[in-house]
C-alpha cells in the first residue's frame, strides 16, 4: 500500500511539473510588464505601469492594435457567415460526399498557415492585386472558418432533426422553422466559434506575415519586428493586454456555452 501511495505521489508531482511548465511562462510575462527596469530582471524590483503607458502612448503600437482589432472584427463577421452556413449545409443539406466536404472546410486548421500565406501572397502578386485590407481579411477568414464549422457542427450533431420536423408538422413554414428552431439551436455554437475566430485572427501571424503592407502591420507583426531587436517591458505590456483578452474569452466561453464540447480534436 505504501508503494501505491508513492506511485500516486509521483504521478501527481509529474503532472504538477507539467502544469508549471505550461503556466509559468505566462506568469512571467506579467512580472516583466510590471517590473520597472528596462531590461529583464528577476526577482522583480518593483511595480510600475510605465510599460503600459509606453505601449498605449506609442502611435506605432496603437495603430497596429487598432488594425488588428479591425481585421479581427471583419474576419469574425465573414467567418461567422461562411462557417455557420457551411455547417448547416453539411449537417442538414443532405449533400453527397459530406465527409470530404467537411475535411476540406476543416483543412486550413492543419495545413501550415505559412503555406496559406505564401499561396495567397503569390496569387495576389501574380494577379497584381497588391496588398489590400480585404486580401488580409480573406486570408484570416480562411484560417478561422474551421473553428465556426466545428463549434456549429458540434451543436447540430447533438440535436437531431426531429425538432425541426416537429415544427414543420405543427404547420411552420421551412423559413419559420429555420428562424425559430434551427437558428436559436445553433446560436451558442456560433457565438463560441465567433469568439474563437476573433482571438485566432487577433493573434494570427503566418498569414499576416505575407499579406500585411509595410507600415500597416497588425499587432503580432509589430511585436515580432520589435522582438527582433528589443526585449523590454513594452512587449510585456502588449502581451498582457492580449493575454487578458484571451482569458476574458475563455471565461465568457465557459459561462455561456461550456468549454467541454469545443475542445474535441
Amino acid at each position: 500500500m505504501n508503494q501505491l501511495g508513492f506511485g500516486r505521489f509521483l504521478y501527481l508531482a509529474l503532472n504538477g511539473l507539467v502544469l508549471f511548465f505550461l503556466l509559468a511562462p505566462i506568469a512571467i510575462i506579467f512580472v516583466f510588464a510590471l517590473n520597472p527596469t528596462p531590461y529583464i530582471q528577476f526577482p522583480p524590483v518593483g511595480i510600475s505601469l510605465r510599460w503600459f503607458e509606453k505601449f498605449f502612448a506609442s502611435s506605432q503600437f496603437m495603430a497596429s492594435l487598432w488594425l488588428s482589432l479591425k481585421v479581427a472584427a471583419l474576419t469574425t463577421v465573414c467567418a461567422t457567415v461562411v462557417g455557420a452556413s457551411a455547417a448547416l449545409a453539411i449537417a442538414r443539406g443532405g449533400l453527397p460526399g459530406v465527409r470530404l466536404i467537411t475535411a476540406i472546410v476543416l483543412s486550413p486548421l492543419m495545413l501550415p498557415a505559412i503555406l496559406t500565406g505564401l499561396a495567397l501572397f503569390q496569387a495576389y502578386v501574380l494577379l497584381d492585386i497588391g496588398r489590400p485590407l480585404w486580401g488580409l481579411v480573406a486570408g484570416h477568414t480562411l484560417v478561422t472558418v474551421p473553428y465556426l464549422v466545428r463549434t456549429t457542427l458540434a451543436l447540430l450533431h447533438n440535436f437531431d432533426t426531429r425538432l425541426e420536423e416537429a415544427a414543420q408538422n405543427l404547420g411552420a413554414s421551412p423559413m419559420r422553422t429555420f428562424f425559430e428552431v434551427t437558428l436559436p439551436l445553433i446560436k451558442p455554437g456560433v457565438i463560441a466559434g465567433a469568439i474563437f475566430a476573433f482571438i485566432v485572427s487577433f493573434d494570427q501571424f503566418p498569414v499576416s506575415l505575407f499579406l500585411v503592407s509595410p507600415g500597416q502591420e497588425t499587432l503580432p507583426i509589430t511585436l515580432f519586428n520589435y522582438l527582433k531587436y528589443d526585449l523590454d517591458g513594452t512587449i510585456g505590456a502588449a502581451s498582457v493586454v492580449s493575454i487578458l483578452l484571451a482569458a476574458l474569452v475563455v471565461i465568457v466561453l465557459d459561462r455561456t456555452v461550456g468549454l467541454r464540447s469545443y475542445v474535441k480534436l
Partner: protein, 286 residues
C-alpha cells in the same frame, strides 16, 4: 443524424465554396504552377515549363540539411510533447471532480489562446543569456548556460506551444478507454503500473499516433519560434521559404519549397485522419 436527400439547405454551402475556390484552391494551384514555370505568366511574354526549381532543391546539400533540421526539430518536439502531455491527458481523462477537470482544461487552453509571439517572448525572457534562468543560476553562484539561440531553445518553445494539442487529442482517447479494464487487470493481481503498461497504454496507441502526427505537422511548419529562439542562426524550411520571398523575391523557388512542405503536410494530415477514424471506430465498437 439520419442521412437525408439533397435539399435547399445545401445552398448554404455556397459562401464557403466561393471562399475556398478563390482563396484556397486557386492560390495553391497557382503556387503549384509557379513552381514549374520559368516566370510570371501574367507579365512575362514567354514562360516555359521547367523543373529547375526542384532540381535546385535536390542539387544543393544545404537544402537537404534544412529539411533534415526541420524534421529533427519536429521529431524532438513531438517526442517531448508526448512525454509530458501523456500524464496530463491521463489525469484529465481520469479525474472525477468536475471543478478539477474544468481547472485543468483552463490550464491547457490558456496557453493555447495566448498568441505565439507572446509565448515565444516569454521563453526568450526565460532562456536568454541574461534571462530569468541564467540570472537565477548566477545568483546561486552556478555557471550560466546557453539555453537559446540553438535547437534546444527552439524545441522548448515549440513543445510549450504544441503540447496542448497533444493533451487534448490524448484526453479524448484515454477517456474513451473503459476504466474497468484497468481495474480488472489490477484485481487479477497486476500492479497499477503494469495495468497501465499492458492495458491502457496499448489501447491509447491510436491516440498517441494521432497526437504525434498533429504536433509534428504543426512543429515543422512553425516560423516564429524557430526564428526568434534560434536567434536567426538556425534555418528551417518555413524560414527558408519566407527568406526566398522577403530577401531574394524568388517566387518560383519559394513555390517549389512550399510544395515540398505541402506534400509532407498532406501526407501527415491523411495519416492523422486515418488514426482518428480508427479511434472513433473503436469507440463505436465499445
Amino acid at each position: 443524424m439520419r442521412a437525408r436527400r439533397l435539399n435547399r439547405m445545401a445552398l448554404f454551402l455556397l459562401p464557403s465554396a466561393v471562399l475556398f475556390t478563390l482563396f484556397f484552391f486557386l492560390p495553391i494551384g497557382m503556387m503549384a504552377m509557379m513552381s514549374v514555370l520559368t516566370g510570371n505568366p501574367v507579365v512575362a511574354p514567354h514562360v516555359a515549363f521547367t523543373v529547375r526549381n526542384y532540381a535546385r532543391i535536390v542539387e544543393d546539400p544545404f537544402h537537404f540539411e534544412v529539411i533534415w533540421t526541420t524534421i529533427r526539430i519536429g521529431l524532438w518536439t513531438t517526442f517531448v510533447a508526448l512525454l509530458i502531455g501523456y500524464p496530463l491527458a491521463h489525469l484529465m481523462a481520469r479525474v472525477r471532480s468536475r471543478t478539477a477537470h474544468a481547472l485543468l482544461l483552463m490550464a491547457v487552453l490558456m496557453p493555447m489562446l495566448t498568441g505565439i509571439i507572446v509565448r515565444t517572448f516569454a521563453w526568450m525572457a526565460l532562456l536568454a543569456d541574461k534571462g530569468v534562468i541564467n540570472q537565477m543560476l548566477a545568483a546561486m553562484g552556478l555557471p550560466t548556460a546557453q539555453l537559446m539561440y540553438n535547437e534546444f531553445g527552439i524545441i522548448i518553445g515549440l513543445v510549450h506551444i504544441y503540447v496542448p494539442f497533444m493533451v487534448l487529442t490524448l484526453t479524448g482517447v484515454i477517456g474513451a478507454i473503459d476504466e474497468r479494464l484497468e481495474q480488472a487487470a489490477q484485481n487479477l493481481g497486476a500492479s497499477p503500473l503494469r495495468a497501465f503498461w499492458e492495458v491502457t497504454l496499448p489501447l491509447s496507441l491510436p491516440g498517441i499516433l494521432a497526437g504525434s502526427l498533429l504536433v509534428f505537422a504543426l512543429a515543422i511548419s512553425a516560423y516564429v519560434t524557430p526564428i526568434l529562439m534560434g536567434g536567426f542562426q538556425i534555418m528551417t524550411l518555413p524560414i527558408l521559404i519566407y527568406q526566398q520571398i522577403s530577401a531574394s523575391f524568388n517566387v518560383g523557388f519559394a513555390a517549389s519549397l512550399g510544395m515540398v512542405l505541402l506534400v509532407i503536410s498532406m501526407a501527415l494530415i491523411v495519416a492523422y485522419n486515418q488514426m482518428l477514424a480508427l479511434v472513433s471506430g473503436q469507440r463505436e465498437l465499445q
